[in-house]
């Protein structure tokens, strides 16, 4: 190693005063005799002096307060994120991510094929398998039963609605003058009350609780109608009207009909409407 390269090895230590006394002696002696190394060292020294000319601007106390607040909120977020991480260690998503990509594709392909087989087997018209057919038979017979109950219930509601509308829309002044006869309404109401008892037995499952309640409410009103005086019983009619309003009977019937329409089933009203349309 030449003297100069040995000396230059000491440059950094010399610049930061980290030379041992022996190294320092050697270094100083060499610089005194070698103009090139001396010039090079001085250039480096002056570069460091220039680097010290920069301004280190001071920051206001407010900055440090904000710094700490920012740090606190980041830490809080970190901790919140950290908690679910413990769960994530066992999370299926993480486990799936750990599986190689090609295995994921293979699994997806197998799943697609399996879905295809399932659809082909159970939903294609030509397929035959005795067990599912038996199940479908059971299911369809119970569905037919339910549909029949629903149909009866909606016919019942429709008839009750017509009766109620007749009572509710009576003009009290005109009625007072003409002394109306309620015998027809009373007869219909009695028929509906008898039907309600049978219908309620069929509306016992949880899905029809609302319908059951509506039929029960209707029963009360129908009883009032059935008990009207045959002629000119305006106070009782007024009571029936307020009962219908208070219980929101007509609104509830309308809602039931709308729900049924939304379910795509054709209510007796719909079938009547569609019949009318075809006639037109």
């Amino acid at each position: 190693m030449s003297e100069c390269s040995k000396c230059r090895k000491y440059f950094v230590d010399a610049l930061y005063d980290e030379l041992t006394p022996e190294q320092k002696d050697y270094f100083t002696n060499h610089l005194e005799t070698c103009a090139s190394c001396r010039a090079e060292f001085e250039k480096m020294q002056s570069a460091l002096e220039i680097m010290d000319l920069g301004e280190q601007d001071s920051l206001p106390g407010e900055f440090w307060t904000n710094f700490q607040q920012g740090l606190e909120s980041r830490l809080d977020r970190e901790e919140k994120r950290k908690k679910p991480n413990v769960v994530q260690f066992f999370s299926p998503l993480k486990m799936v991510r750990a599986i190689p990509r090609w295995t994921q594709y293979l699994a997806a392909a197998i799943l697609l094929v399996a879905i295809g087989i399932f659809i082909g087997r159970y939903f294609s018209p030509g397929s035959y398998s005795p067990e599912p057919v038996a199940q479908i038979d059971n299911q369809s017979s119970s569905l037919i039963k339910q549909a029949a109950v629903d149909d009866r219930a909606y016919r019942y509601l429709e008839r009750s609605k017509i009766l109620l509308l007749g009572i509710v829309n009576l003009d009290p002044e005109a009625e007072e003058a003409s002394a109306p006869d309620y015998s027809r309404e009373k007869q219909v109401a009695r028929g509906l009350i008898q039907e309600a008892a049978v219908l309620k037995d069929d509306l016992t499952d949880a899905n029809r609780r609302k319908l059951y309640q509506l039929v029960s409410d209707l029963e009360v009103i129908l009883l009032q109608i059935a008990n009207l005086e045959t002629k000119n019983d305006l106070p009782a009619v007024e009571m029936i009207r307020s009962g219908v309003d208070r219980r929101g009977i007509l609104l509830k019937i309308n809602l039931e009909e709308m729900e049924r329409d939304n379910r795509g089933a054709s209510s007796p009203i719909d079938s009547k409407k569609s019949e009318k349309k075809t006639k037109i």
């Binding site: 230059r8 090895k9 440059f11 950094v12 230590d13 610049l15 930061y16 980290e18 010039a39 001085e42 250039k43 480096m44 020294q45 002056s46 570069a47 460091l48 002096e49 220039i50 680097m51 000319l53 920069g54 301004e55 280190q56 920051l59 440090w64 710094f67 700490q68 920012g70 740090l71 606190e72 980041r74 830490l75 970190e78």
Partner: protein, 197 residues
């Protein structure tokens, strides 16, 4: 058990008050180191906060054979180098010829304009030139230079912090100072530093 060891135990137990104390004691050192490394306030604040979060999370790994501030310095520099590596990798995706480790002393975008000497005497302009000169260094050269020159870390400590040999630290420092000297050569005349010759 020394006071610092007791303090470290408190930190290990997840004591947030102890952690706040750690932040209050070291925030200035870490922020200014981060700013010397990143060269701007925004990145420095972000880096400094990340350093303390990492410290909070990894205090269990702190063996206590170095001082807390040395440990925090180590985290700061390593996080800075990691970030630069990622940033540099992302930039390479778009611009293959951009390499932070290359000797880009004549990069036109980073060429320092000497400008008016009167203006150059202004601290802010000098600071700008210094920052431009520092940007010319590779991340490792910058990290080593900043730690030694501005944060008074001994070569031995820097070597231990970065997990490299002392000789490597010295050569990184040597290269860094030479690059800085080349970039800031015009100041030697302007500031009368040539008279030393």
């Amino acid at each position: 058990m020394t006071e610092e060891q007791q303090f470290i135990e408190q930190l290990r137990s997840g004591d947030r008050i102890a952690f706040t104390e750690l932040v209050t004691t070291h925030q200035k050192q870490i922020y200014f180191l981060a700013r010397d490394l990143t060269g701007n306030h925004h990145d420095a604040e972000d880096l400094a906060q990340e350093v303390f979060i990492k410290a909070y999370r990894s205090i269990q790994n702190f063996r206590g054979d170095a001082k807390l501030n040395t440990w925090l310095y180590k985290i700061t520099v390593n996080m800075f180098l990691d970030k630069r590596k990622r940033k540099s990798h992302n930039m390479l995706v778009f611009k293959e010829d951009l390499s932070q480790e290359s000797n880009n002393s004549n990069h036109p975008g980073q060429q320092i304009q000497p400008g008016n000497p009167e203006k150059a005497a202004e601290g802010s302009l000098i600071q700008e030139h210094i920052e431009q000169a520092l940007q010319n260094l590779s991340p490792r050269e910058r990290a080593v230079f900043v730690m030694r020159h501005y944060h008074d870390q001994a070569i031995k400590e820097i070597a231990r912090g970065l997990d490299i040999a002392e000789g490597t630290v010295k050569s990184l420092l040597y290269r860094a100072i030479q690059k800085l000297q080349q970039k800031l050569a015009f100041y030697r005349h302007d500031l009368g530093l040539e008279e030393k010759k």
